[in-house]
Amino acid sequence: MRTVGRRRAFPVSLIGRYLRFNLAAAIEYRTAFLVQVFGMALNNSAFIFFWLILFERIGSDIRGYEFSDVMFVWAIVASGYGLAVVVMGNASQISRIVYTGELDVYLLQPKTVLPNVLFSRMVVSGIGDFLYGIVLFVATHPVTARNVALFVVFVALVATLMTAMRVLYHSLTFFFGNAEAFALTASDLAVSFVLYPGSIFRGPAVWLLHSLVPAALMGYIPVALFREFDPVRFGLLILADGAIVVIAIAAFHLGLRRYESGNRIGTRT
């Protein structure tokens, strides 16, 4: 055997290499890089004014949600989304990677396929989202050890869940030929629902938001736990997140057996 070095399925150090590599590629186009990062932060800021005006007009409470609760959801979702797309930016590209046959490149490398696919691409604008979430959190909440710890945990959970949902939705491409449009819509739907107070939803929508479009797991359960931490409820949240991650991984690997590859000409960008 001629290759040297310890062989690992997917070493953490490779994540660092991918991040440095993608950042270097993004900085090749400095202006576009800066516009994407700051443009996204500016875009998000516009929504804060919308919520400010709304709360001023209808009072300080929308079905139990206060302005600071909405800002907390915005902060963890913005930073969680940013973290997900900066570190695992290929989750939303899985359909394209499958139907163009680009997955071949990953299957030829000696690394576990799913993490290798996910970590190999960075969405630069996500840096803006990530930083924006942190700034928003610091600006709207007291920076205590407890608050910061919960913020960090929920950002990580949101990032994991968002990625898992994308993997699950896009893995349908293995079975149906192309599920890209469905996956994009479903992912956007989850983000749209999560940004509104969970208490405004009733009936079947509540079930939907805890399962197929798990906005509740990213939004109002974290908000409730941030207000008043309950270890049992937190444990259930972790279990629910874990279940979705397991289902997403299983869907990807089941799909991989049906992979038919393709011959589309292309380069890695």
Binding site: V4, G5, R7, P11, A24, E28, Y29, L108, N116, R268
Partner: protein, 348 residues
């Protein structure tokens, strides 16, 4: 069809037995109406891409794997490299099962698919090399030495710091092959490595492939539509058509025995005077002529002796027909109805 080479699986770089792969594709007639009808009642066609093929590739060999578009070449390579799961049959590459031991095999094989790049488009090749070294768990010092070695052999020193998007196709392919050799693979799978290149660059790529094979003992499994690649690099050729191997033998054997024809080119002191059963005068103009000899009807010896007796010959050459013609002839002979293909109605 020629008998398969009998080699033991242990000594083989690649050993394939009765390999089969089918694809099911939805058929759709043109038009909006047909699109709606196919929603309710889809017509599914089963295409047998690889139809029970068996072959061996010895270690250190350079093998050409050729066939017309859609013959099953790429599917076979994808089955050998662990990209696709076979429906049935047995595959061993360096003693490993490609789809069950994909990661272990990936450390030991290199691939260059002309259509899919492993270099990042916006970054210079040196960055891609460094990332690939990480992916293949090559330590920093060894990677540095290996990159220096490949840079020298492939003459890519000037290209290492130029973004890939600014390289010419020939420069990019050189960097692609160098990248595929970074982890010192034992087998190199090359899918159309010279496609779209000019003759000078093609020759350079061929030289590099020969060097890698000769100096590092790397087994080369090459697909190409370019007869020059096959003639100049490979010792053995396998022709695949409709998912089946229709020829498996040495390149020379193919050239000299498959088609019983020879081309005799002549330069003469006077216009040609010649007529013989089994010989066709393809061209005769002034003091030059070209004859095509059918060896099933006449021997080359009797043709040459008759020519020498009846003409004053300045120069004579005898050659097999060009490889392109031979390959086209093999393809033509196997253009039979495809019995592995069927259309069925049903749900997908």
């Amino acid at each position: 069809m020629k008998p398969q080479h009998a080699t033991s699986a242990v000594a083989s770089a690649v050993s394939v037995r009765s390999l089969r792969k089918e694809f099911r594709t939805k058929q759709k007639l043109p038009g909006l109406g047909a699109a709606f009808r196919s929603l309710v009642h889809p017509s599914i066609r089963t295409i047998t891409a690889v139809d029970g093929v068996s072959f061996e590739v010895e270690r250190g060999e350079i093998l050409a794997f050729i066939g017309p578009n859609g013959a099953g070449k790429s599917t076979t390579i994808k089955l050998l490299t662990g990209i696709l799961y076979p429906d049935s049959g047995e595959v061993r590459v360096l003693g490993l099962d490609p789809h069950r031991e994909r990661r272990a095999l990936a450390y030991r094989i290199g691939t260059v698919f002309g259509q899919k790049s492993q270099l990042w488009f916006h970054l210079p090749p040196s960055d891609s090399f460094s990332l690939l070294a990480g992916i293949y768990d090559i330590d920093r010092e060894r990677a540095k030495r290996r990159i220096e070695f490949l840079t020298e052999v492939f003459g890519i020193g000037d290209l290492l710091t130029t973004p890939v998007r600014k390289l010419s196709l020939g420069q990019r392919i050189r960097c692609e092959i160098a990248a595929s050799l970074l982890h010192e693979p034992e087998i190199l799978f090359l899918d159309e490595p010279t496609i779209g290149l000019d003759v000078v660059v093609k020759e350079r790529i061929r030289d590099l492939i020969r060097t890698v094979n000769r100096e590092d003992g790397v087994t080369v499994f090459l697909t190409s539509h370019d007869a020059g690649d096959i003639e100049k690099i490979c010792r053995r050729v396998m022709v695949v058509n409709h998912g089946r191997i229709v020829w498996n033998g040495s390149v020379n054997e193919m050239k000299y025995t498959l088609l019983n024809r020879r081309i005799v080119s002549l330069k003469l002191e006077a216009p040609l005077v010649f007529s013989m059963e089994g010989v066709e005068i393809v061209k005769s103009k002034g003091y030059a002529a070209k004859l095509e000899v059918d060896l099933t009807r006449v021997t080359i010896e009797s043709v040459v002796s008759t020519l020498l007796r009846e003409n004053k010959i300045v120069d004579i050459s005898i050659a097999a027909p060009p490889l392109e013609e031979i390959i086209a002839s093999i393809y033509g002979r196997t253009e039979a109805p495809v019995d592995g293909e069927q259309t069925t109605d049903g749900d997908e």
